[in-house]
Amino acid sequence: MAGGDTFESVDWEETGSRLSTLSRRDWGALLTGLALVAVFLYDYLVLPGNRPTITFPVEWNVTQLDWLFVVTLLALLFYVAIPLYDNRRLTAYYWREFRKNRMAVLSLGYLLVVFLIGVVGPLFLDKPTLALDQAYQPPVYLGVDSTVPVNCVGEVVNGRCQGTMAHPLGTTGDGKDILVLVIYGMQVSMKVGLISTLLVVTIGTTVGTVAAYGSGLVDELLMRYVDIQLVFPAFFLYLLLTYLFGGSLFMFIVIFGLTGWGSIARLVRSEALQRAEEEYITAARSAGAGTLYVIRRHLVPNVSNSVITAATLLIPGFILFEASLSFLSLGDPTVPSWGQVIATGRSDLSTAWWISTVPGVFLFTTILAFNFMGDALRDALDPRQET
């Protein structure tokens, strides 16, 4: 009887009349999500493909990736911003802890700026186009031998071409403005980091908590699947699909988001196993709470601190990985990601050093900022792991 008991005792049916498994916030998020799906279907099925989805206030033809990004931003709104606002006292407490780490506060400010410019900027800036007559312009306040640019936009002083505010960070060998490229790159990095991490965290947390709480056969099946997935070479799948269909950022995010959650699931499971033994879980069951309710309302909130910490450290990983693939020309050739710009400048390093350096500095500082912030978040949210 013991073996067959597993599925019976894990009763997935909730009786209708009682307290819902989903909180009001969950319902809010769900309804907003459904509304979004409806708009997506309208855009996809009704509007002709070449017509922009919205024309006011800016003309914006929403792509598949943009849809995912909007979903991610909404998830951040519902599960980070609103809870922080609702529990102001707890937020104030976390902020006091977080503030102790000055570098982290600085990093947070920097990331917010990158995030906002990255989200909003590309809506107002045209994609940089080829302009060979403006190639190799140096950044403002800096000069370069006047033989380097074909046609110096600024003044030539003592045989050196001076940079101008027209191209504050200079231009590439194709004459594309590096500042605009960097801003587009910010959006790419934010999309890569946030969407992939959202996928990984959602699936990983669900699988981890269900495995830990379900125990027995459920646990065994889920975790053995995770073992298999962890040895699955997602990179080769990506290479194959890139070879067949050409690189695309959407594909990158979906493949690595859907195959990268194994380690998070393991982390969450080990944490949830401890939490599941806590008395408040028994107390919730003794109060008549069902399985899904206990998992959603009692287990998940109690593992969320370690999930958030792990997520902050996952984001830079994804950004860096996308940059390296783009650098190797395995990325999406149509989106100007930082890695791609770094790659285009690498043959000009001796003459036009800024082409690779500027996006490189942005990549470096963004990764660093996420790591600093992850450290401080861990100290604030998860004092047990303090080192």
Binding site: A2, D11, L19, G216, Y280, A283, P301
Partner: protein, 357 residues
């Protein structure tokens, strides 16, 4: 006599572990009548907690399993109910309070949220109404300035206050039976008394029965109407609290009472330790530690429950009380006749299940 509220007959709960089958509760029977307090007493690992958790099947399955017996609550056999039917009962008609107030409240929610949850899990009432009822409850269990503290987090409460909050949560739906698993063990003595007083007060007010699980005979003397003494998954003795304290009959009960400081010539611990949970001894479970063990104690199964002095409400599972035996072997002629064999003292905490953290 009217039907008891809860009637447990021959309950067997086992755990499938890597070391083998653990019979944590092995044939336990007792009743809880309406409005009375029954205490389940025994040392750590004797199966008290598992008995309490078996009633509404709170034990984790697997590895745990209720292998037999019946649990009749208000005319309904709980062992035959589905998980969903049990969920309707849990927290609504049968509520639990746990030992460790630090652990029984979820640290990520305010206490107010948790009381409202306890109400809304069973009753379809609007949030505002649930909130005002929660405030009343907090006030009732003696939380000062309940309105102000409603939105505080558990870590902002002291241990005693947390236990009061747990009690408020348990009482939220006015249960018929409250199962309190060592509700005072983790608290200091002054707070213990406050909580026990509160418990008896609330029992009258809410007209509920209490199954109190404890290892503290002082607590038993204070609140119990009837007592069930457990040892290694078996009931050793069962009876009215006065009978049990006046005429303790099982050698184990007598030994337990002798462990209390201030009785006779000082406290004496029971020698030896609990038998192995996977491989209990034949015969009476207590015989390896019993000073009166005879050959009959070492074979067969646990002796049946014999009435003490013809009193059917006071039964003891000891061969010395069987037909043709002489109970005075155990009782001696006077109260102090228990042989002094407490020298090789260990406190006997080798539990099958760490229910006393």
């Amino acid at each position: 006599m009217t039907e008891p509220l809860l009637s447990i007959r021959d309950l067997r709960t086992v755990f499938h572990t890597d070391e083998g089958l653990v019979r944590a509760v092995d044939g336990v029977s007792f009743d809880v009548n309406r409005g009375e307090t029954v205490c389940l007493v025994g040392e750590s690992g004797s199966g008290k907690t598992v008995t309490g958790e078996s009633i509404t099947r709170l034990i984790r399955t697997p590895p745990g399993e209720i292998a037999g017996g019946e649990i009749v609550f208000d005319g309904q056999d709980l062992t035959a109910l589905s998980e969903a039917e049990l969920r309707d009962l849990r927290g609504d008609r049968i509520a639990h309070v746990f030992q460790n107030p630090q652990g029984a409240l979820n640290p990520v929610y305010t206490v107010g949220w948790q009381i409202v949850e306890a109400i809304q899990l069973h009753q379809d009432v609007p949030r505002e109404e649930a909130r005002s009822r929660g405030l009343d409850l907090l006030d009732r269990v003696g939380i000062p300035e309940a309105t102000r503290r409603f939105d505080d987090y558990p870590h902002e409460f002291s241990g005693g206050m947390k236990q009061r909050v747990s009690l408020a949560m348990a009482l939220a739906t006015n249960p018929d039976l409250l199962i309190a698993d060592e509700p005072t063990t983790a608290l200091d003595v002054t707070i213990q008394n406050q909580i026990l007083d509160l418990l008896t007060e609330l029992q009258d007010e809410f007209d509920m029965s209490i199954l109190l699980i404890t290892h503290d005979l002082g607590v038993v003397a204070e609140v119990a109407d009837r007592v069930v003494v457990m040892y290694a998954g078996k009931v050793m003795e069962r009876g009215d609290v006065f009978d049990l304290f006046e005429r303790p009959s099982h050698p184990y009960t007598r030994a337990l009472l002798n462990c209390l400081p201030g009785r006779g010539d000082g406290a004496r611990s029971i020698g030896g330790k609990l038998p192995s949970p996977t491989d209990p001894p034949d015969g009476c479970r207590f015989h390896p530690r019993c000073d009166y063990a005879v050959d009959a104690c070492r074979e067969g199964d646990q002796p049946p429950a014999y009435a003490v002095d013809g009193d059917e409400d006071h039964v003891v599972s000891c061969v010395h009380y069987g037909p043709g035996s002489d109970p005075s072997v155990v009782r001696g002629e006077d109260e102090e006749a228990v042989p002094a064999d407490g020298g090789r003292a260990v406190d006997g905490d080798g539990g099958a299940r760490g229910d006393d953290r």
